[in-house]
């Protein structure tokens, strides 16, 4: 569905992504894990058009993806940016409606709104509340809900667990699985490697702008190097 071929991104003189190749199949959850500064967010931002890439290509549904952010949203790819970027002065409902910015099918919007409220019942309760006054977890849910309102085929989730309490992280990940069951494809960027691998079908490990490892998530989670580097299991523990 989406394939990223030999993608190179520079921030001035810094070579942030060095020829990255990624392949996302329809209906899957694909996780990208890696440490800070490995280029995870850069990759997602390059796909969604927020960061310009120097060379390489991004193919989406057998066609070259446009480079401007707003055209990419139209093509059916929606990013839920890192750090709960919502319209803080608008109400929850207004934020969700903003998500449907490019849509004109009123019935479809209505239906999606219901689905989102089923997915995030808390948002229904807080419908009229100003979004800036929501808790961190609720804001994350709102950001995800707003992303879904554009009825995307592919959702790019950037660090959905950032700064949330462990219990809430579980809820968020349960919801991500539910979104997958709605027939959406998800590209997930996460620091929380264990969580990210446990729900994913496929995963990539980014290290300093290069794909260091890739494979089925169920294989990677058992891999010794991964366990050591990202899951906090030391070799000595097994002794």
């Amino acid at each position: 569905m989406l394939s990223v071929n030999n993608l190179n991104v520079f921030y001035g003189g810094i070579h942030a992504l060095k020829g990255v190749n990624i392949d996302v199949q329809e209906g899957q959850i694909v996780s990208i894990i890696g440490s800070n500064g490995a280029g995870k967010s850069t990759l997602i931002n390059a796909i969604s058009g927020i960061v310009k890439y120097k060379d390489g290509e991004i193919i989406y549904k057998n066609e070259k993806l446009p480079k401007q952010a707003h055209k990419i949203v139209k093509a059916g790819i929606c990013q839920v940016p890192e750090g709960r970027v919502i319209f803080a002065n608008l109400t929850v409902m207004e934020n969700l409606n903003m998500g449907a910015f490019l849509r004109t099918d009123k019935d479809g919007i209505e239906k999606d709104l219901e689905r989102i409220f089923r997915l995030f019942p808390i948002l229904k309760e807080r419908e009229k509340q100003i979004a800036g006054t929501l808790s961190g977890g609720e804001q994350q849910m709102l950001a995800m809900g707003r992303g879904l309102m554009s009825n995307p085929n592919l959702i790019l989730l950037d660090e959905p667990s950032l700064g949330l309490a462990p219990l809430l992280i579980n809820t968020i990940f349960d919801i991500i699985i539910e979104i997958k069951n709605m027939g959406k494809t998800i590209l997930l960027v996460e620091q929380n490697a264990f969580k990210a691998l446990s729900i994913a079908d496929k995963a990539y490990v980014l290290e300093q702008g290069v794909v260091a490892m890739e494979g089925l998530a169920s294989d990677l989670i058992k891999d010794e190097r991964i366990q050591e580097a990202y899951l906090g299991k030391k070799k000595s523990e097994s002794m």
Binding site: G49, I50, A69, Q79, V85, I86, S150
Partner: protein, 301 residues
């Protein structure tokens, strides 16, 4: 205070208001700060003046039409240049854009200062002032300008600009063409500044590059912030107050600019959101205010 003096200040208020309205859209509603709008005023002023002086083809009886055409020409040339400048600089984030506009404003002034065709530092003079920038004309133009601005702000386009101000990244991820709307906002504000420049040229009868120094740009941006970001009525009230204030303080002679500065600082400390603070002045709002005030009176009585 003679009528002549008062109408003079009112005309100046109207000229300032034109620029401030444009800046209000750019700064108050799109969230971009510009310190170079005196540059656009200069472009508008010189274009309008040249148009009147060199292209005066219409008969005497149609001088009003000639004047309006000159203003529109000033606005359009300003807009055209803003599109070029915007294309180059609007990708810059926050402060960097601000610095770029500052550089642009000064560059325009220095270019005009050195090109002899435009009169160099002496500028252009003997621009006809009879029947051009009159109080009636200024008031009519400003009413149209406010009406158009309100229409823009209430339209889908205006709301897109507000979305960019509120949260640029979110605006981008829901599919708003951020760059396009920044450019539109920048161009409209340049058009307003250009028309203001044209009015100014036809009010004073002469223009010199020194009239469009950075201080002028800063003054305009201060008025927008003083009136309240994101409020058209705030911009109008701010312009009236801050144009009249130096005149009222004239009896303090040398101290007047100090007092002007102090007044601005006091307002900004006590009301950091500006006079109107993102709210609009409306009859509905006044009714609400009195409705809220009434129960209190009852309690007191």
């Amino acid at each position: 205070m003679s009528w002549g003096y008062l109408s003079g200040i009112l005309i100046l208020t109207g000229i300032n208001l034109m620029t401030v309205l444009g800046l209000s859209l750019l700064t108050g509603f799109t969230g971009l700060f510009s310190f170079g709008h005196a540059g656009f005023m200069a472009i508008g002023a010189y274009t309008a003046a040249m148009f009147t002086l060199k292209l005066n083809i219409l008969p005497e009886s149609m001088s009003q039409v000639q004047f309006i055409l000159a203003l529109i020409a000033g606005g359009l040339v300003s807009m055209l240049i803003s599109l070029i400048i915007g294309k180059l600089t609007l990708n810059l984030k926050g402060d960097y854009f601000c610095i770029a506009t500052l550089g642009f404003g000064e560059a325009i002034r220095l270019i005009l200062d050195n090109v002899q065709y435009f009169g160099g530092a002496r500028g252009l003079s003997s621009i006809p002032t009879q029947g051009t920038t009159t109080l009636t004309n200024v008031v009519i133009i400003n009413i149209i300008a406010v009406a158009v601005l309100v229409l823009i702000i209430r339209s889908r386009h205006g709301r897109n600009m507000v979305a960019i101000r509120e949260e640029e990244l979110a605006a981008q991820t829901i599919g708003i063409d951020v760059f396009k709307y920044k450019l539109i906002s920048f161009a409209i504000s340049a058009f307003y500044a250009g028309v203001a420049g044209g009015l100014m040229a036809h009010y004073f009868g002469y223009i010199q590059p020194i009239m469009f120094k950075m201080v002028k740009s800063t003054e305009m941006t201060i008025i927008v912030i003083f009136g309240g970001l994101g409020s058209v009525s705030g911009s109008v009230i701010g312009t009236i107050l801050l144009t009249f204030l130096p005149e009222i303080l004239r009896s303090f002679s040398n101290w007047r600019l100090v007092l002007y500065g102090a007044a601005v600082i006091i307002i900004m400390i006590t009301r950091p959101q500006g006079l109107m603070g993102g709210k609009e002045f409306s009859i509905k709002g006044i009714m609400k205010f009195f409705k809220k005030a009434r129960p209190k009176e009852e309690v007191e009585s």
